[in-house]
Symmetry: C2
Amino acid sequence: MPMIRVPVCLGDRAYDVMIGSGLLRAEEHWSDLPRASAAVLVTNVTVAPLYAAAVQTQLKNRFAKVHLVTLPDGEHHKTWQTLNLIFDQLLGHECDRKTVLVALGGGVIGDMTGFAAACYMRGVPFVQVPTTLLAQVDSSVGGKTAINHPLGKNMIGAFYQPLRVFCDVDTLQTLPPREVAAGLAEVIKYGPIADAAFLGWLEDHIDDLVALKPDALMHAVRRSCEIKAAVVAADEREGGLRAILNFGHTFGHAIEAGLGFGVWLHGEAVAAGMVMAADLSERLGLMPVGFQVRLSALLQRAGLPVLGPKLPVDEYMQHMRVDKKAEGGDIRFVLIDRIGSAVVRPAPEALVRQTLEACSA
Amino acid sequence: MPMIRVPVCLGDRAYDVMIGSGLLRAEEHWSDLPRASAAVLVTNVTVAPLYAAAVQTQLKNRFAKVHLVTLPDGEHHKTWQTLNLIFDQLLGHECDRKTVLVALGGGVIGDMTGFAAACYMRGVPFVQVPTTLLAQVDSSVGGKTAINHPLGKNMIGAFYQPLRVFCDVDTLQTLPPREVAAGLAEVIKYGPIADAAFLGWLEDHIDDLVALKPDALMHAVRRSCEIKAAVVAADEREGGLRAILNFGHTFGHAIEAGLGFGVWLHGEAVAAGMVMAADLSERLGLMPVGFQVRLSALLQRAGLPVLGPKLPVDEYMQHMRVDKKAEGGDIRFVLIDRIGSAVVRPAPEALVRQTLEACSA
């Protein structure tokens, strides 16, 4: 199976996303990591038994010392307390500022390890090995790292780019179906915001993706990373364009915050959030009626929820007002104005409330 | 009294350090801060009664909402827990990603506010108003922000540049003499590492500085900021040259860590650390005998300690090995090879131990 390389063009912070099958065992792609006396592999209790040994083998070829940090699993552990477990190990092992951190796991591990790398001694290099579909198509590109705060998701973090990302689609074979679906939500997102043809391809291949066929997975991961890389290269620090990647996320974050983080998977909340954003796009006259139904149908075939939970509308509104994309209390929504094109703008509160009523159950 | 502007040339992160008398009340220098709906003034219980009202007045001319966060005072509060008090307020007030953070106080307030600004929503703008001599000549230039970890000082942080720095030398009039001296340690540092003439000027004017004469203070702050700005512009992320600014700091950090943070002031530890580094420079044959005595004499006139505390030498060594400048367990020292010129290199452990024995009491 071919190896795909997607460059992320960010000047002196440029890096490559490698996508392939058997990557964790492909020594040639690990052998040119920068020299340092130590690497620290950060993973969680679920992923460690499956893939830690393979990655450790690669790292031991390159680094004199390889330390393993195994964190608890789950979004509710994406906290300062868990982050500190990484710092405790780094300092306990007297790791210096050239130490390479390696994140092996899903988005939570990637976000925390990346943020630890951004902060430890004001910045050490790090490598991402995302093992979930969501992490491969989303957090692997763009350098967003963060932890949660009791008052908001991803509120404390940094933009910090990895040295390299290894997306081995073989690791997706062990993923529970619910997590595959959650990842497909972010894959599907790239169609409406950036690529009408890719939305059509997804409608043709969604069953292959759900069945985890490697060639379909590789194409989906590749196209997702390419689109995200193009957006991020144009706007690394989310000054404007990059916000379109948050299609479905303003509503989705409110779902996650309203239910408590971890009840719904992030991708599930984004799926229902995209339906809401599609609904709002129609109510604003940006899209003809029918778009929301088309998007919902694809999401449903992927095994995703298309209606949000029945929370009080005021609660939805409140959670959206503290979203990072809000400015001066104005909630800014990512909306679709034609398939393959997104706009970011506020919306009349009355229409937003209609959407929340119509798209929750 | 004239107003001095020292530009810090860091490309799209360039900013100005304004140095003057009466700056806190000089409306024209505050009126062009970027637009945002809110500013958050972060200070501590000591500084708030002295200067918070003046800064709040300036900010209220510019921002619809001005929130005040008053933290406890002291190096031992430079922790994640205190940092979280800032995040709690930012999220509690629903501050968005354009919110301007303003640090009013010494290095601890500047470091914590800067790190909070670096991390809140992955980065919001911030302004520094350093009110101690140490902060005006050191942390105001270069964007180093951090908090301490139980296993090491400044271990968790970020490089993050302010929008602007206001150094009002009037605020130094309320500084306790011990803190004036601690600031003079960092001023004196710039002579040996970068400017022989400035070292001579300091020997001529140290009594004026100790007496807080404004014209002497303005020149000392200006020259310190100019030297630091030149070094930082050449090496923002401490890849090489910037390390010379840590003259005295490797030994100094070991003193602070060994005694427990906060027992000695940072500048006091740096003073004794510089004497140690001068002693080691002589032992290595980099400098003729006499340099250490000359430096010690000036530091003593500034009211600073010139001998470290009598800690076990092994303890010094251990603390230095986890210093951020160490690489693979090798301690790297900033040494002087001619007045106005520093080098960064390891040193034989036997000589380091001799220095520690000779320069502590």
